[in-house]
C-alpha cells in the first residue's frame, strides 16, 4: 500500500464567514461547524472556541483531539466505519490541515478526562499546546446514559474534524510525504540485508472511556490482526478513550502514530519495516492469553527479527505488555517496549504492575505520578471543577485562584506511550 500525505500548513485559526484556508489561516464558520458537530438528537448544545499556542487558556475536561483531514484520492473516508463506509483506507492521497486540531470537551462522562493548557508549565507536557485548536464543547441532553454520552461526543468530534478537513480538498499541499509498505513477501525481498522489523500496536480496550475502534469495530471484539501501517496513518484506528489522559492515544496521535512514522524514517536504511500487528488490552485473563498468543504467532508468521511494542495505559495493561514481550522474545524475536511509569509522587516506588526478565530494552516516557502546579488561566473552556476528581487529581487539586495541583497524569498526552513526546524518567 502506498499513501501520499499532503500537508497544508496552518499557521493561524480565525472565525469567519466561510470555512476555508487562506494564506495558511484556517477560517472557521462557527455556526456551520456547530451545526455539523451538533447534528444528533442526543446533543443539547454545541459551543465553538479557538485556543492558540501561548494563550492563557485551559481546556478541561478534554475527551479527544482529532486532526482535520480529507481523502483526495483512494478509497474510503477519513474515519472509515464512522463518518463514511468501511472501505479500506491507506492508499491514494490524503490532505491534512497540519498544525490544526479539533479538541472535544463538555460535561464529564467519567473520572477520566484530560487537561490541555495552551501556555505555562503544563503546556510543555502536552503536544496540543502547539496546535491551533478548534474547541468543540458538546453537552448532551439530560438523562443520557454514560456509554451513549461518550459515543455521542466522540462522533461529534469526528464530524467536526471531517467538516474542517474538507477545506483542504482542493489546496496545493505545502509538502507531500509518501509512505509505502508492500505485500509481505515483496517487502521482505526489497531489503534482504536489513533486519525485518514489525510494530505491535497495543490498543486500550478496557470498557467505557477505555475503548479504541478499528474500522468502526470495538477493538475489544477483535483478535489480533495484521494491518498495513498506512491504514493506521489514514484513519483506520480512532480513539474512544481518554481515561488518565496522559497515556491514552487521542485520535490525532493514532493518525500521526510516531512509531510508524519513525520506523518509516529508518526503513530501507537501518531496518526493513514489514508491517503492523494490532492487538487489544482486554480485562480478562483468557482474553489476555489469547491476544498475546496470537500476537506472538503473527509476529513469527511475518518473519520479524525485531519488534517495537507500545502500550496504551498502565496497571492492568502492564500484564498484556509483559505477556507480549515474553512470548515474542521466547520465539527468538527481539523486543523494545515503550511504557510510562507509575513510580509514585515521590518517584520512589517500582513503576510497573507486572514485569519480566525479557523486558531488557524499555523506553520510558515518564513518571505519570509526578506532581505539577498549573497556574490559573485567564480563560477556562469546559468545567474546571472536575479537577478534583479526574484521574490524577485529588481533593483540593483546584485552588481558590483557579490553579490546579495534580499529577501530570491529568494532562492530555503528557506520557504518551507511542513516544509522541520527549519526556522520559531517569533514576536520581
Amino acid at each position: 500500500m502506498r499513501l501520499e500525505v499532503g500537508s497544508i500548513l496552518v499557521k493561524d485559526v480565525q472565525f469567519g464567514a466561510k470555512t476555508e484556508v487562506k494564506n495558511g489561516v484556517l477560517i472557521v464558520n462557527k455556526d456551520e461547524l456547530a451545526q455539523v458537530a451538533g447534528d444528533d438528537e442526543s446533543i443539547a448544545s454545541v459551543e465553538v472556541y479557538l485556543a492558540k499556542p501561548g494563550e492563557e487558556i485551559r481546556i478541561i475536561p478534554v475527551k479527544d483531539v482529532i486532526e482535520p483531514r480529507v481523502k483526495v484520492s483512494g478509497k474510503g473516508g477519513v474515519f472509515p466505519g464512522f463518518t463514511s463506509k468501511v472501505d479500506t483506507v491507506g492508499e491514494g492521497c490524503t490532505h491534512v490541515l497540519k498544525g490544526a486540531a479539533v479538541v472535544t470537551t463538555g460535561k464529564i462522562v467519567g473520572f477520566q478526562e484530560g487537561v490541555i493548557d495552551m501556555s505555562g508549565p503544563g503546556a510543555e507536557y502536552t503536544p496540543f499546546s502547539k496546535t491551533m485548536n478548534v474547541v468543540v464543547k458538546i453537552d448532551p441532553v439530560e438523562g443520557l446514559h454514560q456509554h451513549e454520552h461518550e459515543a455521542v461526543v466522540r462522533m461529534a468530534g469526528f464530524r467536526a474534524a471531517e467538516y474542517l478537513g474538507k477545506a483542504a480538498q482542493n489546496l496545493k499541499p505545502d509538502f507531500i510525504e509518501v509512505f509505502e509498505t508492500k505485500p509481505l513477501l515483496e517487502q521482505v525481498h526489497e531489503y534482504p540485508d536489513l533486519p525485518k522489523v514489525a510494530y505491535v500496536y497495543m490498543l486500550q480496550t478496557q470498557g467505557l472511556l477505555h475503548n479504541t475502534y478499528v474500522y468502526g469495530v470495538d477493538a475489544k471484539e477483535i483478535i489480533p490482526t495484521l494491518i498495513y501501517p498506512t491504514e493506521i496513518m489514514d484513519g483506520a484506528v480512532v480513539s474512544g478513550n481518554c481515561v488518565s489522559a496522559c497515556d491514552k492515544n487521542p485520535t490525532y496521535i493514532h493518525q500521526n502514530n510516531p512509531v510508524i512514522y519513525d520506523l518509516y524514517q529508518g526503513h530501507g536504511k537501518d531496518i526493513n519495516f514489514i508491517g503492523c500487528v494490532i492487538t487489544n488490552e482486554n480485562v480478562t485473563l483468557s482474553d489476555k492469553e489469547r491476544s498475546s498468543d496470537m500476537t506472538a504467532k503473527l509476529v513469527e508468521f511475518m518473519g520479524a527479527d525485531g519488534v517495537i511494542i507500545s502500550e496504551e495505559g498502565f496497571g492492568n495493561p502492564d500484564a498484556d505488555l509483559v505477556m507480549n514481550c515474553s512470548k515474542i522474545e521466547k520465539k527468538g524475536i527481539k523486543t523494545v517496549l515503550i511504557t510510562d511509569e507509575y513510580a509514585g509522587q515521590d518517584g520512589a516506588s517500582q513503576s510497573l504492575a507486572d514485569a519480566t526478565e525479557y523486558g531488557d530494552a524499555v523506553v520510558s516516557v515518564g513518571n505519570a505520578n509526578e506532581v505539577i502546579t498549573l497556574p490559573p488561566m485567564k480563560t477556562v473552556i469546559g468545567y474546571e471543577e472536575v479537577a478534583d476528581t479526574i484521574a490524577g487529581g485529588f481533593a483540593g487539586s483546584l485552588g481558590e485562584d483557579g490553579s490546579i495541583t495534580a499529577e501530570i497524569q491529568v494532562i492530555t498526552g503528557s506520557t504518551n506511550e507511542l513516544g509522541f513526546g520527549c519526556l522520559t524518567a531517569t533514576t536520581i
Partner: protein
Amino acid sequence: MTIKVVHYINQFFAGIGGEEKADHRPEVRDGVVGPGMAFRQAFGTDAEIEATVVCGDTYFNENLETATSEVTAMIQEYSPDVVICGPAFNAGRYGMACGAVAKAVSERLSVPVVSGMYPENPGVDMYHRYAYIVETSNSIAGMRKAVKPMAKLALKLARGEKIGTPEEDGYIPRGIRKNLFAGERGSRRAMEMLVKKLKGEEYTTEYTMPVFDRVHPSPAIKDIRTAKVALVSSGGPVPKGNPDHIESSSASKYGRYSLQGIDDLNSENSETAHGGYDPVYANEDLDRVIPVDVLKEMEEAGEIGSLYEYWYSTVGNGTSVANAKKFAAEIAKDLQSSGVDAVILTST
C-alpha cells in the same frame, strides 16, 4: 546568612579510639571535630559547622533505636539547615550508622543529609534513598577528594537549589525516578534502541524492570462455617459520596466502612471511586465489586461464621506499589487484631 551545619562522625574520626572505644555513647561537641576541619575549609564563609555529634559504631548498631533517637535529638537542638554524616568510606558499621542518622534526620526533622561512602558499603544499599551519598574511595586516603563534592552538595541542599543528576553532582543514585525531557522523542529512541539490540550492540534500557515479591498463600481455612470473613478491595468500593475523597487514581489513602444495617449494596448507598475501569456496572450494584449481599446470605444460612462488620477499600488505579504495601500492612494489622480469619480480596 550563614548556613548552619551539624556533622555526625564516629569515635574513630573523633580521635577517641578504635574498636576498643566503639561502645562510646553519643555526645555532642560545639564546633568542628576531626574531618570537620576539612569541611570548614571547603565551606569558607558560606556555612558554619555549629556542632559535631559523635557516637561509637558498636554502641550505635547494637542500640539502633535508642542511639538513633539520641543522636537525632542532639542534632535537632541546633536546628541545622543541612546535616553531614561521615564520610564513612568502606567502614560498614559506620556507614550503617550514617545511613540510620540520615533516615531519621530526613524523615523526622525534614532536614537534608549529605554523606559519603564507598559504593559497596552496606549503608549505601540500605539508606541511599535518605541521603545524597557521594561516592568515595574505600579508605580514609580519599578524604580530601570526598569533602569537596560533599560540601558542594550540602550548600546546594541548604539553599534549596536544584540538585543535578547523579553524574552532575557526584552522588550515588537514590533510586528515585525523576522526569526530564530527552533530546529525541520516545518513538525515535525506541527505534534506535531496537536497531542496536538487533545488531548486538550495547544499548541502555531507560527502565530496569523490577523484581516482584511473591506472596505465599496462607494455609486453607479448616472450617469456613466458623470463620470470620472480611472484605478488602482495591476496586474503590465506597459509601455513596466517597466520604474520604479517595482519589480516582494514585490513591493516597484507604477507607474503612461499616456494614452495619447493610444487607445489600445498591446505587443509593454506595459507589466506586475507581477511575480506571468502566464504573457504570459497579455504580448500579456495588455487590459486583464486593459481594456483600451473598456473604450476608451465607452468614444467615450458617455457611460462613460471620461477615466482619467493616470493609476496607482503596483504589488500585495508578497507585504506587509503595503506597499499596503501606495500606496493606496497616489493614492486615487491623484485621488481625479484630480476629478476622479469612479475607476476600477483590480488585476490579
